[in-house]
Symmetry: C2
Subunit: 464 residues, 2 copies
Amino acid sequence: MAKNVGILAMDIYFPPTCVQQEAMEVHDGASKGKYTIGLGQDCMAFCTEVEDVISMSLTVVSSLLEKYGIDAKQIGRLEVGSETVIDKSKSIKTFLMPLFEACGNTDIEGVDSTNACYGGTAALFNCVNWVESSSWDGRYGLVVCTDSAVYAEGPARPTGGAAAIALLIGPDAPMVFESKFRGSHMSHVYDFYKPNLASEYPVVDGKLSQTCYLMALDSCYKQFCHKYEKFEGKQFSLSDADYVVFHSPYNKLVQKSFSRLFFNDCLRNASSVDEVAKEKLAPFSSLSGDESYQSRDLEKASQQVAKPMYDVKVQPTTLIPKQVGNMYTASLYAAFASLINNKHSSLDGNRVILFSYGSGLSATMFSLKFNGGKHPFSLSNIAAIMNVDKKLKSRHEIAPEKFVETLKLMEHRYGAKDFVTSKDCSLLAPGTYYLTEVDSMYRRFYAKKAKDSPCENGPVANGH
Amino acid sequence: MAKNVGILAMDIYFPPTCVQQEAMEVHDGASKGKYTIGLGQDCMAFCTEVEDVISMSLTVVSSLLEKYGIDAKQIGRLEVGSETVIDKSKSIKTFLMPLFEACGNTDIEGVDSTNACYGGTAALFNCVNWVESSSWDGRYGLVVCTDSAVYAEGPARPTGGAAAIALLIGPDAPMVFESKFRGSHMSHVYDFYKPNLASEYPVVDGKLSQTCYLMALDSCYKQFCHKYEKFEGKQFSLSDADYVVFHSPYNKLVQKSFSRLFFNDCLRNASSVDEVAKEKLAPFSSLSGDESYQSRDLEKASQQVAKPMYDVKVQPTTLIPKQVGNMYTASLYAAFASLINNKHSSLDGNRVILFSYGSGLSATMFSLKFNGGKHPFSLSNIAAIMNVDKKLKSRHEIAPEKFVETLKLMEHRYGAKDFVTSKDCSLLAPGTYYLTEVDSMYRRFYAKKAKDSPCENGPVANGH
């Protein structure tokens, strides 16, 4: 069996168009700080009419292959996690095949995985399992998480975002799965779903979804600790994790989630909680589960005592989610990318716990260990290639009015046929794919912005 | 690593409501034999307003667990393949969770896999890989393929169907994967897709889809033979397969496909093709690929020379697809179930080649070997539990007019909210789940027909 299977390399793409949350507060007539402090968000990326989940995937996959020098023939599995439906039958994966068909590689397993923001994690687990299975043929796996999160006008709208992330999977990886420690929680709930098929917008019960998230977190943590203790013969606590990475719909929920884990450790009498903290949380130990999810006092007290640990173990993971917004399937891995961006030189030997959540619901807590990594798969090279700070800095701030106008146009275009886009790629970086046309048969056409000229490179292979 | 991983058990469910293809010919004013001989289909199952892909999955999963005596706690992974979208974010898998939550089992990995009719195969491969991976926790995997195939009025309408199949996955199976021999072909095409999000009906280019199917078949067979030869050190031919099972949109395409493989063997000078057949196919050996897909003379000649082998290796797999119609993700496994139904007493040691195809496109050819099997996982018990002949015989023939009326109602209901169904479960077998209501928040409610009474058993857990 292949050993030390995990993530070999990563790349991230998010649209260069974004809106500041402060400006959104003013535009929406919201109280100052409602989005920036209340949600904990700084900025939100969005796709204009020339980008979508397919173009973002094409961009990030072609970028990863090129920047790490991976021959498209070396990919034996490609799978996509997404909840942004452009076609109900044809997978996003098939839209990516022209990148591989060009060199004659069509023998590539994998399709799309779906359950809200969890699809990317499902795709990642599938890819890792493939490398460890008897059907592995020695080639790399490639996982793509791609989503555009948009909401109807109202309180959820500032929790949007957009991005695509590509993860290269194989043995002897610098980020290795500790697959024995894994806790999942799956349940039938209606916290966030997309039953209105003609609309891109979800139906959301924000309060229910937050409670579901925290309940799933508790359940996964319990399973995770149980399995850790079974295999390691000792109690797990947050002290055993160097970093904790959360699926991040908005930063405030990440803060609540970490303090919830801290409260769990307190109830479990774990070594991570000192006497002072224990004393402060003692009054809440008799609350029922339901009461504890609703208690503002507990939330406040636990966030306060967990704050020093949050600053060390979580804060370094929050950059991209705060700057780009909710990226659905890509959110967790964007948080993980933030950690690599911030700490790549000191991660060797560290353990990271990740919590993936998808409404509906499916959730898993799992563990990765950093394990060196040879060029081009070293953490420093991965950080250099992702180049997050530059990508963030070179974005274009769009006025809220223009953002709202774009969303109106996209409402119109969602599920539509027979239109051409502006083909305006002036704001896009060279090498970015963009949508040019949807014909009368709903067939979608994309082009790639040339590397060395401001205008288009001609159309790419568009199926037959 | 777990050994001899494969399919331990199966169950199949299809609606008890069906329409005869002969009656459809008359109703549609089609020439006699157009559907029965031209398509090769006998009958077509369809969901009435009280059934859908979720109710069918609930039925088949609860039936499998009960009939094989599997405790719901023993399932560690559950995944669904489907292309029938009821919700764009919430997976069908989460709708099945109440069956497991009832006994406190929420630690169940897996979500939904999507690419047209291929999603079930992707889910199956994922499940097998999981059992072989380091993340396996010793429990069973469960794969569900569920689809309702409906088409707009026109030539594709008689190629509909509906079914759900459940496959139990684990080690020491009576149907073992030969995972090293596997050929895939994935490509970006628009042969059949569902871009009109508000409609349940696909956009189909029937002629293109048939050519894509045959091209993918050629490509997969080439890869499959290449890998077989690499690992076994000898040429593969159809003589090395006891049975060949195809994804079956309609039987005529299965006939064409087998003769296409036979033609491939002829071109490869394989041992399966005798001198007489070689001579008959010789005139076609100089055709280009494209020409060969279009040549009616080749089609006729190859079907004629392959017929004796078709009767032995393929015919026993055609019962359910001909009687139930296209079941999308479930079609291939319904063909496989037909084989077990017909030949369970003589399959031990036999090899079966399976070809899975999903438009868009993704396709894989893979191999299984029958390997004994202890009760309750013996082939004879599996055949007895599936009870295909009785299920087929106890169906209710519905007049074409009533079928068309049902489809009109369903067009109206697709993506709709705030309605109750007739709750008429008089035609359903005891133990069948059915849809009772979709509320104003699009939440769906199901009930289960009681085992020992003709009326309903009360609602099932419906999420919160």
